[in-house]
Symmetry: C2
């Protein structure tokens, strides 16, 4: 199928691999004329695991008969890191690259141990996250005034405009208590602000979406319904946007944005601070 050059890319970490993966991806996304076969290997935290992995990588690359692999790694333990380095490949180790310069700049030595500073940090983080996730889950459908009061931010938009995943990402990534107010057909009969939201105008953030995309999403849920029709989608989106304009509610379109982008934008626009 593809006429592109192929390369293998391995994301290796002694922790979750999420950071080396996302940075590696950001770099690889800059090369769209190459077809990368990606694999992530988290928790490579002993010399044994490193040796097994190296053998595996060498076998895969040999079988393919393509150019050497790319290895994006983030490994704190120096023995494991040195082992991974012995694998014939193009190496980028995020830890290795920066830690010496940082030690010099900070006039102090790095701990060079895997993991967080102490358990308490994790527990606090867990609690705040749980609190935010529970808050978001409990307010995803039907909202009470008492609860809107506790929200850090209230996402407002028509059904299927992307509120729920954005709320959940805000909760998981930043510990933000994000409530979610779906504009119902009744709310959209006028451009007044729904009564329940009036006391909380400063917490509101709107989400909108292209009508065609909304139609597509709604059609997957309820094909051939009035809910998914072009006329309903057009009308709902246009009234929702009028409400945002009229009441000066900041808003964004979710059409071409990932939940990461929406969440970071909302955090920035609303001046909210992450809770951990």
């Amino acid at each position: 199928m593809s006429q592109k050059a192929q390369r293998r890319a391995y994301f290796i970490s002694d922790r979750t691999g999420i950071t080396s993966e996302s940075l590696g991806e950001a770099l690889l996304n800059q090369f769209d004329n190459i077809d990368f076969k990606r694999r992530t290997y988290p928790f490579i935290d002993t010399p044994e695991k490193a040796r097994t992995l190296i053998t595996h990588i060498q076998e895969e690359v040999e079988q393919d008969g393509i150019e050497r692999a790319l290895i994006f790694s983030s490994i704190v333990d120096s023995e494991v890191r040195a082992l991974i380095r012995t694998c014939p490949a193009f190496h980028i180790d995020f830890y290795d690259t920066f830690i010496d310069a940082l030690e010099a700049e900070l006039h102090t030595e790095a701990r060079r141990v895997v993991g967080m500073t102490h358990g308490l940090h994790d527990t606090e983080r867990y609690d705040k996250r749980m609190e935010a996730v529970n808050f978001t889950l409990n307010h995803d459908d039907g909202i009470s005034d008492k609860e809107l009061k506790k929200a850090d931010v209230i996402l407002v938009g028509v059904s299927r405009s992307g509120k729920t995943p954005t709320c959940l990402y805000l909760a998981l990534q930043y510990g933000i208590r994000a409530a979610n107010y779906p504009l119902t057909p009744e709310d959209l009969e006028s451009t007044d602000l729904p009564r329940m939201l009036k006391p909380y105008r400063d917490k509101l953030f709107g989400l909108t979406i292209d009508c065609e995309r909304l139609q597509q999403i709604r059609s997957e849920r309820r094909p051939d319904s009035s809910y998914a029709s072009a006329s309903t989608c057009n009308r709902e989106v246009s009234v929702a946007e009028e409400i945002f304009h009229r009441h000066r509610i900041p808003f964004l379109s979710s059409t071409h944005k990932s939940v990461e982008e929406l969440s970071a934008s909302i955090l920035q626009a609303s001046g909210l601070k992450r809770r951990f």
Copy 2:
């Protein structure tokens, strides 16, 4: 209070800042004898925004009268990146550091444009994410056999062992359809596998938790209840672990693990592949 040296750390990006933040954090966590004041600035994607930010950083650092700031950045646009570089600070730019070496290795030029390859990628990713998030949300309480069949993985554990946030993270980060089966007091009357789960033994993954920690979490929800008592927590956790052992269900303790760690471990142990 603190006798530690203070430094300011800025995470700057022309996109969400999530990658430069998490990579910067991983590096800073290696220096626990310094008190870092952290700030993240996403979407710095024009020379104007860069200039405003530089002025702001300089003012903050001058006011503090402390050593120069650390700037962790990931900026694709070369003009913006060059501007940020002019800010008197210790700089680490993740893009800049690696892109030349990668171009040489791949015998091709980087696109040097911000963002994903094309819109479709985002749409597909969005759809898979939504599908997974909706799946998880719809199955967080009460599960039907029909739906367990569709799950990629089924997390099993006592109430409040960390199943819900882990399922949501699996859905958001990896597009995995994660269902969640809470072991009820009835299920815990024997060490049999709950009838509903029997056909899906290969998809099961257990979560356990230290009794003390469980007691603490449950007490916040329902103080002084039998549900939160030491004896209930001890009994439930010990029967749950017996079930895992007896039916050879792989399991992890959520006590000292973040949802990122739990999710990466589950993905690895179950051999599941991310869906985007």
